[in-house]
Symmetry: C2
Subunit: 414 residues, 2 copies
């Protein structure tokens, strides 16, 4: 078993970098958007911890960081673990960080025990997993796995028009190493569940069977600014109303039950000029769809597209454009790795179940390169995440990393 | 008749102060929010023009500006005209400015003709008519008329938390004069229609019978930030969805026809934290209702309040608060002043109709002090306003101010 107290301390220390006081909840949250100054500070802290643990650090052209512990067969493909340390703007301390700091904690434990594995073990930190700054999630791992190109990623811009490539250079994380990853032997990622299933089933550990599909798009609606008092309703092209109709329609698609286990979220929404007595001339919103079934996802996307076509005709002068931000299919994880994880949980006497991930994870990208699976750790408060209330107990975190340690050890000795 | 070319030149000159290039339309718009630096610059220009026209200028504690031309009976109550020069953020050149610059043009014309009226004539410029910066419209005139207190107005804040009182002091428009206005003999305001009615009826001049009721409130919705991928729909408290439901419901109230000539607009709408994969924790929106019938307005407000109560119960963890921003009843204008305006239009050979105002105007506040009515000038493009496309022809503007001149002359010789 790993040193749970040391793991917890590193989680709490990292959470201070980018910490903020949440006015609503009175809690301390984390705001560490990818490639901001605080993310860079967090990265430097993680690199320092890696080096203290004896890892050899390399940084690639996407800013992905890898810390390597040699094995007795240095030429054997390494076993990779890791996650991300970028966060959303209203985050807690655990999302992503548990996987990175847990990986480092496993290395510290192996060092203390004097254990040498056959294969090298590497701990990865992937850039812009959240996708909230540059619009595409799992970005660093997707480029490492070859699904997206480096050029695409470098050209992405944030809301201020800053490019990812520019921000990599500014923060000094435009590393020299080729991004495309040589196939590891296996990849295992430990992450908080970010949902209620483990707690509802009263188990400690989730063996993740795969990740549901994710569809992100941005919709821009062009209407016409007009005076709220004088403009007859039939002469309006109200972009804000159209945005509201999309949001309400998305919920009706979910509630219909006709699209399987569809989830739909509009998290970003702005209107322009955003003034009390002016009919909005323009609205911009994002649509986040999730579905474990690729065919149902495609049907839901088609239903939304049809609704958008009708909507454009519903008010004269209204037009809409859509932009694809991110799209991933359902990704099944490797059965063999899942079995090793389940066995490791049993070895530690920890109850476990198998479950599908609702959130996207770097593991779904690396799964294209090698056998991959994930370990989920349960969260409190219905597993709330992307929220300062996000919380997993010290015990839950340590249990997850115990399972990670045992799993990595087995894989690294294969 | 007045000098239409000179009037037009002053409208175009004032529109340069706070001008911006509208990216969408390619047009030049005006952004001169109340008590910003550009509004202060516009005020100084107007004061310079007033002084050139021989007016004696005074500024009150609300920043309202009055330019006075003496009459042969200086102790007789003056005839007041005027309007405002503050604008919304996406405005044209005419809203408010026509009434102020038209008033100055009338004075110039009287000066050139060597005409002395029995009563003094005053031209007023009222502060924050639009209500978009500090949240309450017709603010300067409402305080001048005694409907709102100076303390209330000074304490209002903009989105950056700056107070109106502080901004008055900063811009140097915290004048020494008592705000409460001594009852004028009459008030007449010339304004663009900001709607399609005059053009549809192919007439030049509108004799305004009154102003419909205005109800502004701000609604804040508190939900719970949560992960878009992992949070089951039934566990969400989605503030953005609730905002969308309000917007769609408001349109259904309008479309039902059950609330008379109700108009409803949500012009301001923000969500927090405003990120793609986070269920909105908070939403803020404004509701602008208009109704020419006070009873129907009250019914519409009650229907909205009932909907909000139900909405709060529709998702566990959702709560709502509302804040009243502005509320005015239907204001009928004086029949006698309307008759003089109609007669003046006839004298100038200009076709006219009577109509109700869809927009709020300073005239509705001053109407509490003295006989009041308004002259409307037609606009192009369905009378679009609060938009850079807002446009009235030089001829239409001159015709409106011709009618204003004749009306003021008659009233000032009563
Ligand atoms: N785990 C996680 O929060 N990933 C971000 C991508 C997503 O929205 O699922
Ligand atoms: N005339 C005008 O635009 N007034 C602003 C107040 C309103 O929204 O009606």
């Amino acid at each position: 078993t790993v040193n749970g107290a040391r793991l917890w301390q590193s989680l709490m220390d990292l959470a201070e970098i980018g910490a903020y006081d949440d006015e609503r909840t009175g809690l301390r949250g984390v705001n560490r958007l990818a490639l901001t100054d605080v993310d860079a500070a967090g990265r430097r802290q993680v690199i320092a911890w890696m080096e203290q643990a004896g890892l050899t650090v390399r940084i690639d052209r996407m800013g992905n960081i890898y810390g390597r512990r040699e094995g007795s067969h240095p030429t054997a493909a390494p076993v990779l673990t890791g996650s991300h340390i970028d966060s959303v703007a209203t985050a807690g301390a655990f999302d992503g960080c548990l996987g990175v700091l847990g990986g480092i904690e496993v290395v510290r434990t192996l060092n203390e025990r004097g254990i040498t594995t056959r294969r090298p073990i590497e701990v990865g930190v992937f850039t812009e997993e959240e996708g909230v700054r540059f619009g595409t999630d799992m970005l660093g791992s997707a480029v490492a796995a070859g699904r997206l190109t480096l050029e695409y990623a470098h050209a992405l811009t944030d809301r201020d028009g800053l490019t990812l490539g520019g921000e990599l250079a500014r923060t000094g994380f435009d590393g020299p190493v080729e991004v495309r990853l040589d196939a590891p032997h296996a990849y295992v990622e430990c992450h908080i569940e970010q949902g209620p299933v483990l707690a509802e089933n009263d188990v400690e550990i989730g063996v993740v069977t795969g990740v549901q599909g994710i569809s992100w798009q941005e919709i821009t609606i062009h209407g016409r600014a007009a005076h709220a008092g004088t403009t007859p309703t039939h002469l309006r092209a109200d972009a804000g109303l159209a945005a509201a109709q999309i949001i309400v329609h998305l919920r009706s698609l979910v509630d219909s039950g006709d699209y399987g286990d569809l989830r739909a979220t509009v998290g970003h929404l702005i209107v322009h000029p955003d003034l009390t007595n002016i009919v909005p001339a323009r609205a911009e919103l994002t649509v986040d769809l999730r579905n474990p079934d690729d065919a149902q996802m495609a049907r839901a996307e088609a239903a939304l597209a049809a609704f958008l076509r009708d909507l454009a005709g519903s008010q004269p002068g209204l037009s809409l454009t859509t932009r694809r931000m991110a799209r991933t299919a359902y990704v099944p994880f490797d059965n063999g790795v899942q079995k090793i994880i389940a066995q490791a949980a049993d070895d530690h006497g920890l109850a476990h179940i198998s479950l599908l991930s609702g959130a996207g994870h770097d593991a779904q990208e690396i799964a294209a390169l090698c056998p991959t699976a994930m370990i989920f750790v349960r969260g409190e408060y219905d597993g709330i995440s992307h929220n300062p209330r996000e919380y997993s107990t010290p015990e839950a975190c340590a249990h997850g990393i115990d399972v990670l340690a045992t799993t990595l050890l087995r894989l690294a000795n294969q």
